[in-house]
């Protein structure tokens, strides 16, 4: 038995959980299928993915030498 196709509203509602991989496999696949045929939702998902990549990159910043030295002393 096939599941009814999701509407754009339903996909948008769950898009972040989808990108966060928080959905069960069935829901994940339902959204995958929707994104394959709906270019607007696909664009939205790609945009949020790209934004997330850029946000994730803010979690890395050159550590000061002083901190590196402090860590070397702690683990020396």
């Amino acid at each position: 038995m096939s599941t009814p196709e999701l509407s754009c509203e339903e996909v948008i509602e769950r898009l972040f959980e989808y990108l966060d991989r928080e959905l069960d496999t069935v829901s994940q696949h339902e959204i995958d299928r929707h994104l394959e045929r709906c270019y607007d939702c696909f664009s939205r998902a790609e945009f949020e993915r790209r934004l997330r990549e850029r946000i994730a990159a803010t979690g890395s910043q050159q550590a000061p030498e002083r901190l590196k030295k402090r860590i070397r002393e702690l683990t020396g």
């Binding site: 928080e22 664009s43 979690g59 050159q62 550590a63 702690l74 683990t75």
Partner: protein, 216 residues
């Protein structure tokens, strides 16, 4: 400072574990510091959080059964260190969040995509992607740093560290629903902040998202 002297037969020696630990910390240093800086917004405090977390992990290295989990373990200790150092302040900021929930609902539902996407322009380009690409890393850092503490930490844990909602709930000792709600609101606030920064930098027109211009 020296962790335990010996391991069970079949496990790596203490000296090997210590060597692996040093190598991982060296490799992860910029990420540990960057994450601590996003959490604390203060370079001195970020250094303290990293140093205390590394010292704690070093002392408890014998408790780590599998060295392949070292990276995740270190980041978990980093988060726990930050949380324990700031617990008193968090209580105060939690009250601020309740207040904000009443007054800034529009901001927390803000969607950059909906402000930028122009379906009829698909054949000439994607303004929303141009908009994201033209941000400097510093702009994105500012947007994260401007989030209130309890919102900021869930963004750091989910979007930067890749924790599951359940893991975040466990580490922060919060109900799962609160994690979901804070994350959703944090994303709205973050996107609103980027929109405003984009307007200030001249990346978009003042009345609509129609024009994505060069950075001023």
């Amino acid at each position: 400072m020296t962790p335990v002297e010996s391991k069970q037969p079949g496990q790596v020696s203490t000296a090997d574990a210590q060597r692996v630990f040093r190598e991982h910390v060296e490799r992860l240093m910029d990420r540990l510091y960057g994450t601590a800086l996003r959490l604390t917004r203060n370079p001195d405090e970020a250094e303290d959080v990293v140093a205390e977390a590394v010292a704690g992990a070093w002392q408890r290295l014998d408790q780590l059964k599998d060295l392949s989990h070292l990276d995740g373990w270190l980041f978990r200790i980093l988060h726990n260190t930050f949380i324990s150092l700031r617990r008193r302040r968090w209580c105060r900021e939690d009250r601020e969040v309740s207040f904000e929930q009443e007054i800034e609902d529009d901001d927390t539902r803000f969607s950059l995509f909906e402000h930028l996407h122009q379906p009829f322009l698909l054949w000439v380009g994607r303004p929303e992607n141009d908009f994201i690409n033209r941000f400097l890393e510093e702009d994105l850092r500012n947007a994260v740093d401007q989030l209130p503490g309890p919102f900021r930490i869930v963004v750091v844990m989910v979007e930067i560290q890749g924790y599951t909602y359940e893991e975040v709930a466990g580490i922060l000792d919060l109900p799962l629903g609160t994690v979901r709600s804070r994350l959703s609101r944090a994303r709205g606030l973050l996107q609103k902040s980027l929109w405003q920064q984009g307007r200030d930098a001249g990346l978009i027109g003042t009345s609509t998202g129609f024009t994505v211009g060069e950075r001023r």
